[in-house]
Assembly symmetry: C4
Homo-oligomer: 130 residues x 4
């Protein structure tokens, strides 16, 4: 094991699904650090950049996407769902879900931070991979 | 990858299991937003509606079900376990578990929100798929 | 799908592993409801009782076990690790891990509740299955 | 099942990936108990020591590693990412990710503790195994 990543197959999956998205409308504490949010965390352990596409699914309307994202080789990228605006912003205070597709294997996770009631509440949604 | 969902096999599983359910009896803060709860989050990425059946398992009594739920194609659905009443309400303040069966692949997650002690505590139970 | 459990293979695994156990020494709020704890949640969806054995692994001493547990058919069981005393109590305030073995498939999860700093903090560790 | 670990294949994986690392810069409450942190929890259920190597991936710079760790047979080890200094400290307040490689099967989890806003917030990231 002379290199931690050099000679191994790239770990990860091309499809990730997150059913439980919800971005609180309110926040307390200094922004942007304590803005209530869902944050998609992507890791690309491979030698090529990853072209990632998000699709956002809703309860009472058609799905929206793709939202394109790029993750460089050997890098992570943490993206606030609150900040996605193209093709359109994800509504706050409503249930949503994510389907994440990548052209190369990546690993994804959704980190939740909620400051609505003061203090801080965090949770991690690990995602389903297929 | 011209379409984010069009030409792929539907990701998900027909069976999901959650062993650690528990709905707190008390809440603080404005309802229904901050009502302590377990919330089942379902995502149907496929082209057909999903007919989902929940079975609720208890510690000291027979299992109860099925609780039928429908998730439209290309949609999510977030259901508070607290709100299920047919065939019967799930008791608060007691351990329970869920077995989720669907006729098409779905992805499920259990989101927990607890405001008993003031403030807010959140957690995500990702579920076992088979 | 006439029955939610009757004609399906029992979902679950015979081996579950939890590497991140830690029971806080202190608690705030009324006991036993708000006692800081790790709680092992087991679900047996099958038609036979499950004979479960826990082994507790430590950082600086030999592993301890088995701790026997029984989960009835079609039931859940939530067990506080704090309450295990035979063969010996699990030390508080120290890292530990769990290997869970069952003679039939079960689903396991570790729920954490921490009230050391006032308020309430919850987390769910979903476990590795093999 | 006369022994809980003796005659079974060792459960676990040689590769674990965590995409969502982030160590808060600030903490409240007594240290080191309430220092905000990410803690990597490793469990080695097998009969041989595990030689583990971490690689830390960043957003805007090259990956760093390997960070070597040893986990004795039949033991757990909980390591604060904050405490890793060789080959270099992991920057606080920045996104990072972890690729964990082991020469024998282990089980890994990342536990997060955040005291920035007073009180305590905990979360568990279960990791992707390959």
């Amino acid at each position: 094991m002379s290199s931690a990543t050099g000679t191994f197959e790239t770990p990860g999956s091309r499809t990730w699904v997150f059913p439980g998205g919800h971005i609180p409308v309110e926040s307390t504490g200094p922004e942007p650090e304590f803005t209530s949010r869902d944050e998609l965390c992507l890791l690309n352990a491979g030698p090529e950049p990853a072209a990632v596409e998000l699709t956002v699914l809703h309860e009472d309307r058609e799905q929206v996407g793709p939202y394109p994202l790029r993750v460089e080789a050997g890098r992570v990228r943490h993206v606030r769902i609150n900040d996605l605006i193209d093709p359109q912003a994800v509504p706050l205070g409503e249930p949503y879900g994510l389907v994440v597709r990548s052209d190369v294997p990546v690993v994804a996770q959704l980190t939740r931070l909620d400051t609505r009631r003061g203090g801080l509440s965090t949770a991690v949604a690990p995602g389903y991979w297929a």
